[in-house]
């Protein structure tokens, strides 16, 4: 109690020094928390864009499909399989797809295209083509003879909305695949490659085109919380035959995305480490100055019998209180900034926007408001403050009382 009382009064003994120390800690927490919030917001956006709106957080395939993406590795969409998936805890929807490649031709041009057969209803949970339509209209049913294409496909094939698109390819078990589909709409996706090459057909028409009745190449899973993806994947693996099916989480489906995020995260940590060091040495300087100013007083305290550990405790409580105050102020300042840029993402323009679009990302910086980011930054700065205060605290507690009183 006495240690706390002494520490508290000493904190306010030199208000300007305390304010400078609190401010430097608060600014460090503010900068590091806002930076991490921007980074994590960006990663979440990348994941949402690439995973949440195209591949899904998990997928079920026939065993071997991911290594050899051919229709020979497709699987029959049995009711029992779909029921197992739909009834799994945490799965909110199952989105069946059949995917292949074909040559698309207009009147004068032909281009290689990516053909995806989608379930008209359930696809609204994932790609949600209806709201991404740039022109035309969405499919009515799964056996409708129509195609919706990426926004740049029309231009590449030199055709118009309503024109017929000829598709030529190879179906299941080497069958020849040909079809003629009126273009019903165009769609804008965040990924420029898909805008250039995607052709969507209603599921049944795509299965007919590829001579793969009732077959799927993937069943994407919509889950209630992306954090639970590993648990859900494990649960489904336990229920399905691993000889026939493979169940993969998004991290496995897109390892390059995971690695990209990790590399970027590490580079962010390096910048943060520099910031932490600058702050640490600033705090060290302030504390050494404080110890020097109070050397005589510490000498008196040691002389009259204050145990060295009590002196160290008094100083540690003082520094800890300042560090907690600074961290709290830092969190309070950083939260509204991150919250504001979460609601109003920074829209990027120019080359930076183009670069991001080329990577299939939305050209904006959306900050994360995940509480753990702020709490962790405050804890890290708190630990750094305490680590850097070890030297001055030990120095004070090891003072020779006579030398200290001589000044």
């Amino acid at each position: 109690m006495l240690s706390i009382k002494l520490a508290w009064r000493n904190i306010w003994r030199n208000k300007s020094r305390t304010l400078i120390t609190v401010t430097s800690i608060a600014v460090a927490v503010l900068l590091s928390a806002v930076m991490r919030s921007m980074q994590e917001g960006q990663y979440k956006d990348m994941i949402d864009t690439t995973v949440g709106s195209f591949s899904g957080y998990a997928q079920v395939h026939a065993n071997g499909y991911w290594d050899d993406k051919t229709l020979e590795n497709s699987f029959v969409a049995t009711d029992s399989l779909l029921n197992i998936l739909k009834e799994s805890k945490g799965v909110t929807a199952v989105v069946p797809r059949i995917e292949s490649f074909a040559l698309g031709a207009g009147k004068q041009q032909s281009r290689p295209l990516m053909v995806i057969g989608i379930d008209v209803k359930s696809e609204q949970h994932l790609m949600n083509p209806q709201i991404r339509l740039q022109s035309g209209s969405y499919f009515q049913q799964n056996d409708e003879k129509a195609a919706i294409v990426g926004r740049d496909v029309l231009e590449r094939l030199n055709i118009q909305l309503g024109d017929s698109l000829v598709l030529l390819g190879q179906g299941f078990r080497g069958m020849s695949a040909t079809g003629l589909y009126p273009v019903k709409g165009t769609i804008t996706l965040p990924n420029p490659e898909l805008n250039r090459s995607l052709v969507m057909l209603p599921l049944h028409k795509a299965q007919q085109f590829l001579a793969a009745d009732n077959r799927l190449t993937s069943a994407a899973l919509i889950i209630d919380d992306p954090e639970h993806v590993d648990r859900i994947v494990q649960h489904i693996i336990n229920k399905l035959s691993t000889e026939r099916y493979e169940v993969m989480a998004w991290q496995e489906l897109m390892p390059e995305l995971v690695q990209g995020i990790e590399v970027d995260r590490v580079s962010g940590y390096i910048i943060l480490a520099v910031l932490y060091m600058v702050v640490g040495f600033g705090i060290l300087g302030t504390l050494l100055m404080m110890i020097t100013e109070r050397t005589y007083e510490f000498g008196i305290m040691l002389s009259i019998g204050t145990p060295r550990h009590r002196l160290a405790t008094i100083l540690a409580v003082e520094i800890l209180t300042i560090a907690i105050l600074g961290s709290a102020v830092g969190i309070l300042l950083s939260l509204p900034i991150s919250w504001y840029f979460n609601i109003n993402p920074i829209q990027l323009t120019g080359d930076m926007a183009t670069t991001m679009e080329n990577y299939g990302l939305q050209p904006m910086l959306q900050f994360s408001t995940e509480p753990s980011i702020f709490v962790w930054q405050a804890i890290i700065i708190l630990i750094i403050t305490l680590l850097f205060s070890l030297i001055p605290v030990l120095r004070a507690s090891r003072l020779n009382p006579i030398k200290a009183m001589r000044g």
């Binding site: 002494l6 003994r13 305290m301 009259i304 019998g305 204050t306 145990p307 006579i402 009183m405």
Partner: protein
């Protein structure tokens, strides 16, 4: 039984460079209830002697025995604890903790001893009354005069119920009235409580009122006069 005994105390500063002999074999015995002034010119070793008796410094040779405990046999931690329980200190000036009030400064030592805070406060108030500062208990050092601060320091020195009080030039920074008041107080405590006081001083008015005067010259006892 003596409270303080020193045998052949020698203190040499800078023994490897330019040796300075601060003490040269000081043998001194102080009995309970004595009121002893250590006097001598500057550099005669008064402060060094008090520091060694107080366990704040170690002799180059010789030994110090306080209440039958030889200080050199104690570890640093034991020495701190020994000072806390056996010795009261009064320094020249500015020796109070600035952020604590008078009563808290007096309580501080008792709280360090682990005594309950209520008891500490009660005892501190009673000590402050005894030194004539009943109306200043909640004042901080900056709100007290030099003489009042030294009175608080005396109260603090007594708070731990020490075997003796060491005072290094306690009146050096005080005006003549405050010096006389402080000396009256120390004498009163010496007579009433039979508290042993050992203090260094240059002040002739203080020397005149001491019951025993030990004169140091060049680190040796030149004269030991009991009045």
């Amino acid at each position: 039984m003596p409270v303080i005994e020193t045998h052949g105390l020698t203190k040499v500063y800078n023994p490897d460079k330019v040796p300075v002999h601060a003490l040269n074999g000081v043998d001194l015995t102080i009995e309970k209830g004595e009121f002893t002034a250590i006097v001598g010119p500057s550099g005669s070793g008064k402060t060094t002697l008090l520091n060694i008796i107080g366990g704040l410094d170690t002799p180059t040779e010789g030994k110090t025995i306080i209440q039958q405990t030889e200080l050199s046999s104690l570890s640093d931690r034991e020495l701190v604890n020994f000072r806390l329980h056996h010795i009261g200190f009064v320094f020249q000036a500015y020796n109070l903790i600035p952020v604590l009030t008078a009563v808290e400064n007096v309580s501080f030592v008792m709280q360090m001893q682990g005594r309950p805070s209520k008891e500490c406060r009660k005892k501190s108030i009673s000590l402050l009354k005894e030194v004539g500062l009943a109306d200043k208990i909640d004042k901080r050092p900056t709100e007290l005069s030099g003489g009042q601060q030294q009175r608080v320091a005396v109260a603090r020195a007594l708070a731990s119920k020490p075997d003796f009080v060491l005072a290094d030039e306690p009146t050096a920074n005080l005006d003549s009235v405050s010096s006389a008041d402080l000396l009256d107080l120390m004498l009163k405590l010496n007579e009433k409580e039979e508290m042993t006081f050992v203090f260094s001083t240059h002040d002739q008015r203080v020397i005149d009122r001491a019951r025993r005067v030990v004169t140091l010259v060049d680190g040796k006892i030149d004269k030991d006069e009991v009045r």
